[in-house]
């Protein structure tokens, strides 16, 4: 298989009123063509920052960033902004944003907003772009007349489908999905997940699936990477990570999932997520870790390989 996206030592710091916030620290992973990787972690752990870095739409208060993002072998953080806009943005990498309900301009028709990237890149008119939008809409299970609808006339599930259509309009190789189903009710969520699985199969699309719901990630992802407090703590094939979690955080996360069968009550992780302005020393999970020992406080664990899984925990050193 070919590596599509190679993230190397990505680090992103924001300047806030309270000081430097270390949102993403030394994150590395690879994504192969047509592969779906889940990026799992709790709110504020840096998942969306990674997505925004790939889209090159990080907010203005970034005060430090380093690392490489190799897409098809080329560092897309290093190329000039104009070239990124002309060759990569939306044409090769697109994104479905968190909160699709507000992702559409309330005063423009849905179809027009979906067609905009196409109209701009091919320099064609709205009349000419409409056919492509209609084709995509029918593929995603949206009635053709949805093109003429305004955002407030659509249900949450329809908006999410339209958002997907917008992300796919230039046939990208990689789509980043940031919490694509978190605002939807469970039955619509299932429909969208089935749609994503079909797209993955039929279009050979590579996806980064960002979610805080590890069971949802298990439904679609080939591989799963778990983030905690800006760091990648575990990375491996979905089957391995889900059936045999290595990192104490991943274990606790899976133990916190309620089960339909069996009488094991769901557990919880004591404490709260750390403040990323003053992250804990050593391993960032040590204040909440059930198997913490002395070295965890002073030594920042590197990524260890344990079988096919990579894990950032001193237990495996």
């Amino acid at each position: 298989m070919m590596v599509l996206l190679d993230v190397r030592n990505l680090t992103i710091h924001y300047m806030t009123e309270r000081g430097v916030l270390r949102a993403v620290e030394d994150v590395s992973f690879q994504l192969e063509k047509g592969e779906t990787m889940g990026l799992v972690g709790e709110s504020g752990c840096g998942k969306t920052s990674i997505a925004l870095a790939i889209m090159r739409t990080l907010p203005d208060n970034v005060c430090f960033s380093s690392g490489e993002l190799l897409f098809d072998g080329e560092d897309i953080l290093a190329i000039p902004a104009e070239r990124y806009d002309q060759e990569i943005r939306w044409r090769k990498i697109s994104m479905v944003f968190q909160g699709a309900l507000n992702s559409f301009n309330p005063v423009l028709r849905i179809g027009f907003q979906v067609a905009e990237p196409l109209m701009q890149s091919r320099k064609i008119s709205w009349d000419k772009a409409r056919g492509e939008v209609a084709r995509l809409f029918s593929m995603l299970g949206l009635p053709e007349e949805t093109i003429w609808r305004y955002p407030h006339e659509l249900s949450g599930g329809m908006k999410q489908r339209a958002m997907l259509a917008m992300a796919l309009i230039l046939r990208p190789k990689l789509v980043i999905l940031d919490e694509p189903t978190s605002a939807l009710d469970v039955s619509v969520q299932t429909q969208i997940m089935n749609l994503l699985k079909r797209l993955k199969r039929d279009m050979g699309l590579a996806m980064i699936f960002i979610t805080h719901d590890i069971t949802l990630a298990s439904d679609i992802c080939d591989r799963i990477s778990v983030m905690y407090a800006g760091e990648l703590v575990e990375l491996g094939d979905a089957d391995d990570v889900l059936t045999n979690p290595l990192h104490p955080y991943t274990r606790k996360l899976l133990a916190a999932t309620p089960r339909l069968r069996g009488d094991r009550p769901p557990e919880y992780i004591p404490g709260s997520p750390p403040d990323l302005v003053n992250p804990p020393s050593g391993c960032r999970f040590h204040p909440r870790c059930p198997v913490m020992f002395d070295r965890c406080i002073s030594v920042r664990p590197p990524m260890f390989s344990s079988g096919r899984v990579k894990v950032r925990c001193l237990l495996y050193g």
């Binding site: 943005r89 301009n105 309330p106 990237p117």
Partner: protein, 348 residues
């Protein structure tokens, strides 16, 4: 079809508002006894004047008193004081409703007419020249300043606009007017102290127009100085709120060209609230600006309302109140129609 129904419904609601306002005027003037007291005072005043006149002709005191008594009862019937207010005032309202504004009691036009329509038609152009001009200038400049500040939020330009806005908003118009008079009229002597025309007024229409412009410059400048800041700040807030919307981030991520993005995703969604401000400000400007008109001795609608109230000119107060309500309702209806064009969410 449904659109027509929606607008018709709005129209009915607005007509109800109009009746509501007129009902309130009747209640305030009638139930509190103000109307009765005003009219009684008029009768007394007129009787005094007539007594002077009659005493020259009728020497016999008893005869004089009898004549005066007859005259008084005539006056009371004419003013409707013999009937309770709730039959008298609604009649007046009904007359006003068909735009028969009647005549004032004390306030007259400069040409001497006491017809309310004459008085208003004389003052209206002055106020439009002064306040409406100032509102037009302030809104155009203020929206441009505010929108630019919002697009560069946090920059030095933005902070300068914000500072200027709060200063401008805090300035009282009468004080600003006095300062301008002091600077430009008293020390520099390039603008008149006040009034509408030079004395004697120029004769040709062109010169007259130029003369009014020259006299209106300082009052317009005063109004612009004190209301520009509000416009800039409100527009800044509206546009800033839009720039923080998710859909702007999406449009940026999908690579929309910056000028398109600004037009379609920021200015366009921000338009409805800004247009609301413009329509209400323009229609409100017809009511005049009492303080500025007073400082510059400018005969406009604001001072007319003030004079009507202080001289207890009931007819004029009712006519003006009706007129302002009518203007408000008309502008509300214009807004409803504009919203249908600007905001798809109100189309049903």
């Amino acid at each position: 079809m449904s659109l027509v129904r929606v607008l018709a419904l709005k129209a009915v609601t607005l007509i109800l508002v109009l009746f509501g306002v007129l009902m309130l005027v009747v209640l305030v003037l009638g139930a509190t006894g103000v109307s009765d007291r005003i009219l009684t005072a008029y009768v007394g005043e007129q009787l005094r004047a007539v007594r002077q006149e009659l005493s020259q002709r009728i020497r016999d005191p008893v005869e004089l008193e009898r004549a005066l008594e007859t005259y008084r009862s005539e006056l009371i019937t004419a003013y409707g004081l013999d009937r309770p207010w709730y039959t008298r005032l609604p009649q007046m309202i009904l007359r006003v409703l068909i735009l028969d504004l009647g005549s004032s009691r004390t306030v007259t036009s400069f040409s001497g007419s006491s017809k309310v329509s004459d008085i208003i038609l004389e003052r209206l152009p002055n106020t439009v020249a002064l306040v409406t001009t100032a509102v037009a200038i302030s809104s155009a400049v203020g929206i441009a300043l505010g929108a630019r500040a919002a697009l560069k939020a946090g920059s030095r330009y933005d902070r300068a606009v914000s500072l200027f806005s709060s200063v401008s908003f805090a300035l009282p118009s009468w004080w600003m007017g006095l300062i301008y008079i002091l600077a430009f009229s008293f020390y520099l002597g390039i603008f008149p102290f006040g009034g509408l025309y030079s004395t004697p007024p120029p004769t040709t229409p062109l010169e007259r127009a130029a003369d009014i412009l020259w006299h209106a410059t300082l009052p317009v400048l005063t109004l612009v100085t004190v209301i520009l800041g509000g416009w800039a700040y409100i527009s800044r807030t509206i546009v800033l709120n839009v720039t923080r919307e998710d859909f702007v981030a999406v449009a940026r991520a999908k690579g929309l060209k910056e000028n398109l993005l600004m037009r379609r995703y920021i200015i366009r969604p921000a338009a409805p609230p800004i247009v609301t401000n413009i329509v209400f400000a323009i229609s409100g400007s017809i009511g005049g600006a009492i303080l500025t008109e007073t400082v510059f001795n400018f005969p406009g609608m604001g001072r007319l309302y003030y004079e009507a109230i202080t001289s207890f000119d009931e007819n004029l107060v009712i006519a003006l109140t009706y007129l302002y309500t009518l203007i408000y309702i008309a502008s509300r209806f214009i807004l409803e129609i504009l919203y249908v064009v600007l905001d798809p969410r109100v189309r049903i």
